[in-house]
Amino acid sequence: MDAIIEIAIAKYNYWMYISLMMIGLYAIIAKNNFVKKIIGMNILQTAIILFYISISAKRGATIPIIRHAEGHGHEAVNAMEYMNPLPHVLMLTAIVVAVATLGVALALTVRLYARFETLEEDEINDQIREAQ
């Protein structure tokens, strides 16, 4: 039992990633306002980024830049001394994609407001039902 509790506490980054993901999913599903839904979508995307960055972190490692100062240039590179840079590079792409989806979603929201004069999902549904 103690071993299980120890593992659960040691992985707190992953627990926080799961709770952030659930906060974002709740906002997407349960919130009525479109801007709130978009904020929830962004929180979900950043939760995924937190998961990947947590994978790359190591205890006692430094940032992934190889030392090239005087007297350091000819040493062998030991991978255990550096964080894993591969998830970092993948997540750079994810951040840019997140901003692109945010721009498209906000542009659609502005167009919806110009058409329906409201940002609430249920009011827009009512207006569409009345028009039919």
């Binding site: 707190y12 926080m16 709740y26 919130k31 801007v35 709130k36 904020i39 205890r59 964080m83 901003v99």
Partner: protein
């Protein structure tokens, strides 16, 4: 990675996320989302991902907040939830 700092900033991240989706004012939600992005930027820097940290600071906390505030000014600040 300094775990005390990591845990403190993770707590701030969760508080900012919950506040951003519960506040009843869209401009306030946009600003709280900017604070959330900046806390995440500090978190990436602590965890050794400096390239992700400065991309998040410029793109996540900068451009996203500007997009949200521009959209809120073009539409409305009122929200029911």
């Amino acid at each position: 990675m300094i775990w005390q700092l990591d845990l403190a900033i993770l707590t701030l991240v969760a508080i900012c996320a919950v506040a951003a989706i519960t506040v009843r004012d869209l401009l306030g939600a946009a600003v709280l989302f900017g604070a959330y992005s900046f806390m995440l930027c500090l978190l990436w820097a602590i965890m050794g991902a400096v390239d992700v940290a400065f991309t998040e600071a410029s793109v996540g906390a900068g451009v996203s907040t500007v997009f949200f505030i521009a959209a809120v000014f073009r539409t409305t600040r009122r929200t029911k939830d």
